[in-house]
Subunit: 231 residues, 2 copies
DNA sequence: CGGCGTTGTCATGACTCTGCAACATTCTGC
DNA sequence: GCAGAATGTTGCAGAGTCATGACAACGCCG
């Protein structure tokens, strides 16, 4: 898999395909769902970085899905963009009131969609694909899928990369092992939570030559945090 | 020489002139076509950096032109903006399904048009198609359709050439096998993704005598990247 | 037709990564 | 300071990923 993961919930096949095509082309990972049930399964499987939801869905309205996602503690932070066919003011307001982070009226251009996604991801604190984040000499290049320290490439395996990427886009926040597993592996996967420790260690070892391992901080009985402040 | 070249396909003389005037004023090179046939000739003659197409054209719909341009491997990457007179929803959706990168509804202000063009060109992110890209002794001549190393022509088969061309115009970016297939073969073709490995290998073998094969980097579980930095 | 270059597919072996378990160390409350 | 809990460290086997060579299908041109 590649880049940020976006879940597209849309019943009309043609539109869904078009959206997926545009997103993949831009380098996002895409997961598709045609109704709320499938969407829930996908959410349970692995939490995406952003969700696009059609307003009109066959089994249950997209609103309902949005609302429930925003109610659940595990998925509350997931940014949501609603796709609405009508340009009616009422819809937009209702959508936003129920927790969508943004909405976009059909029809829309791929450019428009990508712009919105970038904006929402930025606001959510994670990164759009065309952005570069820098942190004390640590430079994260999303497009290039690598992290450099003073122009030296950090040799990271996939899991370590994703973990550092995750932390770098959410500094100063503590994440429990449970949360990390849900976001980086997928909540249905059966991974021991002690595995996180090992992954953290590998990450620290990779950062150690540059003295940056101190940024990966242990918060006892809570989880881990990425921060440049002293413990 | 002008800056980027824009092809304007529009049957109404007055509108075409107005658009051309605005674009030239902004520093773009402009080429005009009044129908699809002329447009095709212009495309064959010299590939522009962007194409503006009117939705309603006398001989053939602009849609048809868009679709065929996006189907053709040579012109697939050409960004297209559609001009549509009607604000009807159907139009836009159809336009997008057929591959236009953006659309703009008439009437529009010159400022709006320029903004869209800028955004689409930025997103396309490719270097000008008529430029010569040089990379550590590796020279890509897109006009001559060949690649040279210290004035020696690299013996490349078509597929390898296209792949190297693709990578050279987008350095430092990782592309998944899926993406490479979609962009180099076409999204509708069914090609095994392992085929990419083989193609990469052939490319590396061609570059190896010059010690340039190290630029083609494997990014484990993500894809490949063209870069002159160390792994 | 037949040789030649090109292209996609496959099987195999080499290699890296990853999660786990087992043991070592540190921390916390008492 | 001690017991128990939480975290750090290490080696390893299985899983996953990639490079490589062989090969068949195809088109092209004499």
């Amino acid at each position: 898999m590649h880049g940020k993961l976006i879940l597209v919930v849309e019943d009309e096949r043609a539109i869904r395909d078009m959206i997926a095509f545009g997103l993949k082309r831009a380098g996002y990972g895409v997961r598709e769902a045609e109704d709320c049930r499938t969407a829930r399964e996908a959410l349970a499987d692995r939490l995406p970085d952003l969700m696009l939801v059609d307003w009109m869905l066959p089994d249950m309205s997209g609103l309902e899905l949005t609302r429930s996602v925003k109610r659940d503690r595990l998925t509350r932070e997931l940014p949501i963009i609603m796709l609405t066919a009508r340009a009616g003011e009422g819809d937009k307001v209702t959508g936003l009131e129920n927790g969508a982070d943004d909405y976009i009226t059909k029809p829309f251009s791929p450019r428009e969609l990508l712009a919105r996604i970038g904006a929402v991801l930025r606001r959510a604190g994670t990164l759009g694909l065309d952005q570069v984040i820098e942190f004390e000499g640590l430079k994260l290049d999303q497009q290039g899928q690598r992290i450099t320290v003073q122009d030296e490439v950090l040799p990271l395996a996939r899991t370590e990369f994703r973990m550092l990427e995750f932390f770098m886009s959410r500094p100063e926040r503590v994440f429990s092992r449970e949360q990390l597993i849900a976001r980086l592996w997928g909540s249905d996967t059966s991974v021991e939570d002690r595995t996180i420790d090992v992954c953290i260690r590998r990450l620290r070892m990779a950062l150690e030559p540059y003295g940056l391992d101190r940024y990966i901080q242990t918060v006892r009985s809570a989880g881990y945090r990425f921060s440049n402040k002293a413990q």
